[in-house]
């Protein structure tokens, strides 16, 4: 199958920095594929997302190639890919009502009139489990909790039915119940619409249960890329083994109970 997205030797160096934040990363994503990216804090995961979306800060140096083979052209933000930023504040416009934010994408990219876009927005807010969606449509981002804002950002990012959703820590503030609903929604969109997903997360259990493949980042490099279960069961890279070994589980001895060394 033709890849949706194809990265070759992608490197990024931020202004005034000697070391690259992303160092020669190559990877392919197929239509409908769910790829999770896990790894060290500061290893370049968000940088990769920003590079894909063409949103690196001015003065950042990019080398290598980003192509969209199945599109046969370069991708348009909103229509071809949707993005949920790690910082929910960055995904939402503080002065736009929730309904407008979500409907805007559908109106612009799907060519819907405002009324139809509004109906779609209402439906999407329900799907991400925002309580009282009719009333929520008229409220502003600051009037919602952290997890609600993340879900509103997800609704806005999927409104135009993008071919790829890039979700950067988009479920990090969600309780396990709501997270399960969002995961089901992601599965649905990938299965039914053939949407591809790049899920950046620190939650390895989530990555393992949702993704087809998992990529592991460490110090600006892609150190391992493998089918999800294989990566969790038989990690190859030293860093992956280290990361899996430090997973904090419900069965662990509480840290407050441990004796001081």
């Amino acid at each position: 199958m033709t890849a949706l997205l194809h990265l070759t030797e992608l490197s990024v160096t931020y202004p005034r920095q000697a070391e690259p934040a992303l160092d020669a990363v190559s990877l392919d994503i197929a239509p409908g594929e769910k790829l999770a990216i896990i790894g060290e804090s500061g290893s370049g995961k968000s940088t990769l997302a920003l590079a894909l979306a063409g949103l690196l800060p001015r003065g950042a140096r990019l080398s290598g190639n980003i192509t969209w083979p199945s599109l046969g052209r370069s991708a348009r933000a909103g229509a071809d890919f949707g993005m949920v930023f790690q910082d929910p504040g960055a995904s939402l416009n503080p002065v736009l009502r929730i309904g407008e934010q979500v409907a805007e994408a559908a109106q612009r990219h799907l060519g819907l009139d405002w009324e139809k876009a509004g109906i779609l927005a209402l439906e999407l807010l329900g799907r991400v489990r925002i309580p009282d969606p009719e009333l929520a449509m008229r409220a502003y981002p600051h009037q919602f909790s952290g997890g609600q804002r993340q879900r509103i950002a997800i609704a806005a990012a999927i409104a135009a039915r993008p071919r790829l959703l890039i979700a950067d820590e988009a479920t990090s503030a969600l309780d396990v119940l709501v997270q399960a609903e969002i995961v089901a929604l992601f599965r649905d969109l990938c299965a039914a619409d053939g949407m591809a997903l790049i899920l950046i997360t620190h939650d390895i259990a989530l990555a393992a249960s949702l993704a087809d493949r998992i990529a592991v980042m460490h110090q600006a490099r892609l150190v391992e890329l493998a089918p999800a279960l294989q990566l969790v069961e038989t990690p190859q890279a030293d860093y992956t083994r280290h990361l899996l070994g430090t997973h904090i589980d419900l069965t662990d001895t509480p840290r407050i109970g441990r004796t001081v060394p």
Binding site: G42, K45, E169, S172, L174, R255, G257
Partner: protein, 269 residues
């Protein structure tokens, strides 16, 4: 087994009593807090768990005086905390710090990492100017960040790095209580473990207390002596962490515990 609990007769460090808070805007009415009470002793960690929208951050913001409650009292370090004003409030404020769920919004976007960490040293006169950089270095080191970040802008670091800078800034204040709202959620599990160890170590050394808001049950279990479970603005269950996780009595606690994802599990196809 050392519990680090200072419950021997001493008055609790923090008492929040019957806190209520509603939000009304347009047609939307939300009872974010409905008659919520908690206590916290020096050297103790209270984990606050609950579904998204249940009122956790609102409680954290009332306690740290970022918003006013409609009703209820808070006492902190033996004082009527909500009644404090002016210079008395400024002096006491240092003793209660907060690490926010959304750290970018909590910083001046034009600040450098250095000034974000050293502002409290300057404002509260905790160290002479000549020592600021050295102190900032030491604090960065404690939160596992390299000194090379000091001269970056607060927007020029990763999300997890920013979360740790927020913690370093809170620690710079030498507080007695830190309210941590999803403060380790943006960290990889390896660094998360190291930060949790740091929090526990500081608690043992200095008797720091933490109100630890998190949706991650395993993390709460690792650090909290007691937990309170919130649902729709109310506390529906409290108790020692181990007991609540092993034998939850409220439907919400049961649901949250049952839904915890496991690393090695069957996956739906």
């Amino acid at each position: 087994m050392k519990e680090g609990l200072a419950t021997d007769g001493a008055e609790p460090l923090l008492v929040a009593n019957s806190i209520s808070r509603r939000f009304i805007s347009g047609g939307r009415r939300v009872t974010a807090l409905d008659d919520v009470s908690i206590t916290l002793s020096a050297g103790e960690t209270l984990g606050l768990l609950g579904p998204s929208g249940s009122g956790k951050s609102t409680l954290a913001r009332v306690i740290t005086r970022l918003i006013e409650p409609d009703a209820g009292e808070v006492s902190f370090a033996g004082q009527d905390w909500l009644g404090l004003k002016g210079s008395a409030l400024r002096r006491q404020r240092r003793l209660m710090q907060m690490v926010f769920q959304d750290p970018l919004g909590a910083f001046n976007p034009r600040a450098s990492v250095l000034s974000a960490i050293t502002d409290p040293l300057r404002i509260h006169r905790l160290a002479p100017r000549g020592q600021w950089r050295m102190r900032a270095n030491a604090l960065l080191d404690r939160v596992q960040l390299p000194a090379s970040l000091l001269d970056r802008g607060i927007g020029e670091i990763s999300g997890g790095q920013r979360q740790r800078v927020a913690l370093a800034r809170a620690l710079a204040c030498e507080p007695r209580l830190i309210v941590l709202d999803e403060a380790v959620s943006a960290l990889d599990v390896s660094i998360r473990g190291q930060i949790l160890d740091l929090l526990v170590e500081l608690q043992r050394q200095d008797g720091l207390a933490y109100l630890f808001v998190s949706h991650d049950l395993a993390v709460v279990k690792a650090v909290a002596h007691r937990v309170a479970i919130m649902d729709a603005g109310r506390i529906v269950e409290t108790g020692p962490t181990g007991r609540v996780i092993a034998q939850p009595s409220s439907p919400m606690a049961r649901a949250l515990i049952a839904a915890v994802p496991r690393l090695h599990q069957e996956r739906p196809r």
